[in-house]
Symmetry: C2
Subunit: 676 residues, 2 copies
């Protein structure tokens, strides 16, 4: 049933994605030239389709037309982004951002109400289209994961089995996340590994199979719908034929270092900017912020051909290996030159056009680097995958062309002599772009296996796994050396979500007694006795404290633990009893025991509450090392744990205490952690 469920979910979501794509195409891509009110004009010669200058002035040439196109480009961008931010602000405040940090938190057990609701789904889908169309430096992959999780969550509500069981629902969400990545990249295995490595908290084997199934169905449906128009499953289909040489690992590792540096730099600046946004007045004007960033992006982007086109188009062009028949801009000049040298593919030398393209790309790189920092975290749906990949792809392509030219002009050098003879095609700049993209993505997200597998599925050749892996690993090492966290973890911490990192080992030597409440000098723990407290006593305790649960003990003297009762259950039960049960007054004694003693006839009737008592609360002794306690919290997903000493109840450790303790040990502010 779950398989079928996910199947439907995936279909649903794929349809949505299709909507995103189609809409994106409508607005963004020359592919759909039957839709006329687009802004990218000069690259498309469809007769059905006119640029704004053509539409208004009747002809499409000259400086004025250029300025008009420029103007319209900026206007459309602003319009789209403003619409997006207003929709987000007005209807679904959770629809902004990438959503992956929140989904990670939700999967770890924290509940954010409405985060996966249908309004979020609808608004996020619409605004994602708008935001992508507006030309902002953002991608649609992260938000697609969120959208997929929304679908999964909504479908869960349709089935009783999942509505009740929180754990099962999380499994569905894990599978949905896998499906989301799967449609985003057309990489089902990569999607599953992404869900396993990056998103999920607890990943049982059943989920593996279901995720894989969901991801595959999603990818398959996507292929059937065929949004890219070329029967290929993947977004950036590349087919390289040249093997790579072992010496090329040196530039690949350089790219990895670059990726790591960029990742660390990006995370640091973006977090600094987001913190500034949170703490200063800036955060109060999200619409203005989006307006300004969009305006700057659009103004800077239009003059440069490589920033004007959509980012995924750019990446796809950068990945592409130039063939003879290639008509893409980046290859044209190479071919021009080739045709003067003799028309065979292996011959490669840069014409003057390459240098122009190079500095255009370099400018695009600088612009992307800075604008992305300000874009990610704004109040619009924004993914990071595509911009990061673009940065890496540009850097990689630049390096690739440089190495290629070096090899071409100096093929007699010792380092090239063994493998790169004159006239041979030994360097593939597209491969460098790909490796660079992987490195930057790895630096930002700190993915490893899933990253390599996603890129491997993009290229479809085992041949290139080693370069990709070398780059991903270098990038992770470099980035980890500078800043420990990936962008998602950094945002989780920035927002103070209570996320217990499962990956890191807790290695401090503290004991449970150091962490538990009450502390050494605090008043003793508030407890309820099993057979001597009256309704009034309990109500006093409830009113005077704010704990969400109370341990029940045999007696105050013995402090022997019987069970744990939740505040919520207590309040509801007492209320109900007062209303419906005869003879329950403030002096009624509450019994948590199995069998209640016979009462003297004069006393008020008693209230039996054993049914709301959790008889199997988790306990640890006060001497338990925190290492084990943290492990128990993680693996069993606890919210609280009672601490005993020689069989007597001593205190309680909540998840909040654990998180605060970890934050304290890491010299962070322990009070920044939210908790519900």
């Amino acid at each position: 049933s779950l398989a079928g469920l996910i199947d439907i979910s995936a279909h649903w979501m794929t349809d949505l994605k299709e909507g995103v794509c189609l809409a994106g195409f409508w607005f963004n891509h020359e592919h759909c030239c039957w839709k006329s009110n687009t802004t990218f004009t000069d690259r498309d010669k469809c007769p059905e389709w006119e640029s704004w200058s053509q539409l208004i002035l009747g002809h499409g040439e000259g400086a004025f037309a250029y300025i008009l196109n420029y103007f319209m480009y900026v206007i459309w961008a602003l319009l789209f982004s403003l619409l997006a931010v207003l929709l987000v602000k007005g209807f679904a405040p959770y629809a902004c951002g990438s959503g992956i940090p929140e989904i990670k938190t939700i999967l770890s057990g924290f509940i954010i109400r409405g985060y996966l609701g249908k309004w979020t789904l609808i608004i996020k889908t619409i605004t994602l289209v708008l935001a992508v169309s507006s030309g902002l430096s953002l991608g649609k992959e992260g938000p697609l994961v969120h959208v997929a999780c929304c679908c999964g969550n909504i479908l869960c509500h349709l089935f009783t089995k999942y509505r009740k069981n929180e754990a099962k629902r999380r499994e569905v969400l894990s599978a949905a996340a896998a499906a989301g990545v799967s449609v985003a990249f057309g990489a089902p295995i990569g999607g599953v590994l992404f869900s396993l490595e990056e998103v999920s908290y607890y990943f049982p084997l059943k989920t593996l199979w279901r995720s894989f199934f969901a991801a595959l169905v999603a990818a398959f449906t996507l292929r059937s719908i065929n949004p890219f128009g070329n029967s290929r499953l993947v977004l950036f289909y590349v087919e390289f034929h040249m093997p790579w040489h072992l010496l090329e690992l040196v530039p690949f590792i350089l790219l990895g270092i670059f990726g790591g540096l960029w990742g660390a730099f990006f995370i640091r600046s973006n977090i600094a900017w987001c913190r500034r946004r949170k703490t200063t007045k800036l955060g109060k004007y999200p619409v203005l912020e989006v307006f300004v960033v969009t305006a700057i992006t659009a103004v800077l982007a239009f003059p440069n051909e490589y920033t004007r086109m959509s980012t995924s188009e750019l990446i796809s062009e950068l990945f592409n290996d130039c063939g003879i028949l290639d008509s893409s801009k980046l290859c044209e000049y190479v071919n021009d030159f080739n045709s003067t040298k003799g028309d065979d593919l292996p011959d490669r030398a840069a014409g003057p056009g390459v240098y122009t393209a190079m500095w255009q790309l370099a400018l695009a790189l600088i612009m992307k680097v800075f604008i992305t920092i300000f874009t990610f975290g704004m109040k619009v749906p924004s993914g990071l995958f595509i911009p990061s990949m673009a940065v890496g792809a540009i850097a990689g392509r630049l390096l690739g062309v440089a190495v290629e030219q070096l090899a071409y002009y100096h093929h007699d050098w010792a380092i090239f002599s063994g493998w790169c003879s004159q006239g041979a095609d030994c360097i593939t700049p597209g491969l460098y772009a790909m490796v660079g993209a992987a490195a930057c993505l790895g630096g930002v997200t700190r993915m490893t296996v899933s990253l390599v597998v996603i890129m491997f599925e993009l290229t479809g050749g085992l041949e290139y796994i080693v370069p990709l892996m070398a780059a991903a690993m270098t990038s992770k090492w470099v980035a980890d050396a500078i800043g420990r966290e990936g962008i998602y973890d950094a945002h989780i911490r920035l927002n103070g979500y209570p996320f217990l990192e499962a990956k890191e080992e807790f290695s401090h030597k503290t004991l449970a007694m150091d962490v538990m409440r009450p502390r050494r000098n605090d008043p003793p723990l508030t407890v309820i006795t099993q057979d001597s407290m009256t309704v009034e006593d309990v109500e006093t305790i409830i009113n005077e404290t704010t704990y969400s649960g109370y341990p029940v003990v045999v007696s105050r003297e013995s402090q022997r633990l019987v069970g744990f009762v939740l505040r919520r259950d207590l309040i509801i039960s007492i209320e109900n009893a007062r209303k419906k049960q005869d003879g329950i007054v403030s002096t009624s004694v509450i019994y948590f025991t199995d069998h209640s003693p016979p009462l003297p006839p004069s006393s008020p009737s008693m209230l039996k509450l054993r049914s709301i008592l959790d008889l199997s609360p988790f306990t640890v002794t006060d001497q338990t090392p925190m290492e084990i306690v943290v492990d128990i919290f993680r693996k069993l997903g606890l919210r609280q744990c009672l601490v005993t000493h020689n069989g007597k109840l001593l205190g309680i450790i909540t998840k909040k205490d654990v998180l605060k303790h970890i934050a304290q040990l890491a010299n962070q502010d322990p009070d920044s952690i939210l908790f519900n």
Copy 2:
């Protein structure tokens, strides 16, 4: 450091594997025709190389030569297998079988001494070569996983960090298992997923990356060494060009059903046979058994071309799609026929040769099916992957050719009309063989994702994931419907290893108090008090009981738990104290408290043993559902857990109790479980 470690490990193991392959080639394959004492003669025309008949008689034709070759084939097979079984019997009894069930058990926390030692490694490698060369129906994949784990374990011993830490060692073993599959199939991602899905018990994310790295290094090294002589990473490289049609899913699902049936049938018969071997006199003559099975295999195998060749050769031939230039036996007749029809590839019709090949294959199928049941579990290293795949591949190829002929002769039928016009190449029998192989392997091992990914990496095309998945899923469903366990789990249960299945949900309604010892009418739990027992008392307890540990309580009356002390530690401490510490006599009181009271001067000096006391034993209440208890045991890898009621110690649950309880609920014999 671990990466480097695994790197070396993988290199090592790959070298070993290389040894296996080369040796296999020496004995088995026409590829190495410079090695003259081989038995496969009639297919190879190398001048340097003579068949036995040629060597002895001087010419290689005629009935007598055939009989001689037959005779020598059987003799060699017997020689190899006898040598193998004698080596196993004499030097390393653990080197037999596939090793995967044992590795699963070891990874779940059970210790089998010497199972991963260097003798096992050496003998297993040698005997594996011999066993594969002898022509028995077994593969080298499972044993390779074992060999890889041995390497990993031995390397662990070289580093202090891993020698001490059991958990870290298990992570290395998981990675080694991934590397093992990776070299076996040249499928790094598949290897990682195999390790994750099938072998490993606990798989932290760090291990994922390390496994992937190990698997990749292994695959890469394998490619560098290039044992297959064609610069391809994979064992059975196939390159299909034809897309498949949706209607073809019907035969694919049929293959899945066949695979499931075969898997269930195989597991049932194999387990029945192995049980017979364990319980009857048969088990006492392993050498004779191997001798007989080898003799039967060799006698039956030689006359049939498809069983005479090595199994991996057979599979590779079955997977292969016939091209024009293909000279393999299975395609020759098709090409003969094609050349009379017109020499283009798409035209396909069966010549009379196909029908011969078909019944030969059918005979081979029947033989493989039965002989494998008796082979797996003998006292030689034996893997299951290759024989299962062979069975599936034969069945698939048969079905594929049948469908192909059907489509060829009846391309005007309605079901074919849409997509299979006359003269078009619409059916790929090799794909059917592959799907069949996946189905049978899935039926036997119950792998899902890893199976699909391994097969996907074999073909290198996302195109065929859906057929493979359909077959794998049908196969799993069918097989699960008949018998719940995969072959490895079945063997674990057969051998009674204490393996707590992590995948199955425990859904019975029993409580901890129903499982714990002592039972309701038993004498109370043996406990040690913290400050009132003398050395003599404790020694009496140790001598009268066989428990491996004792709870320590405050006093017999209160039964409040202080800690847990291991029998072993107690014995050693008391012995040491008696020897080295003055004044320790049988009447000395043992104190487990932090501070001991002042003693009257006349009494003997006391023995303080707080240091050996585990102050943080796990406890659950008697009302805890067993579902949760089982979960705790699994996730935290416990060996025992104490049971309390209202703060008083009531009893203890050990892993053995849990396993017995599960076995009881499944109506199995609870006393068959080993425990150390």
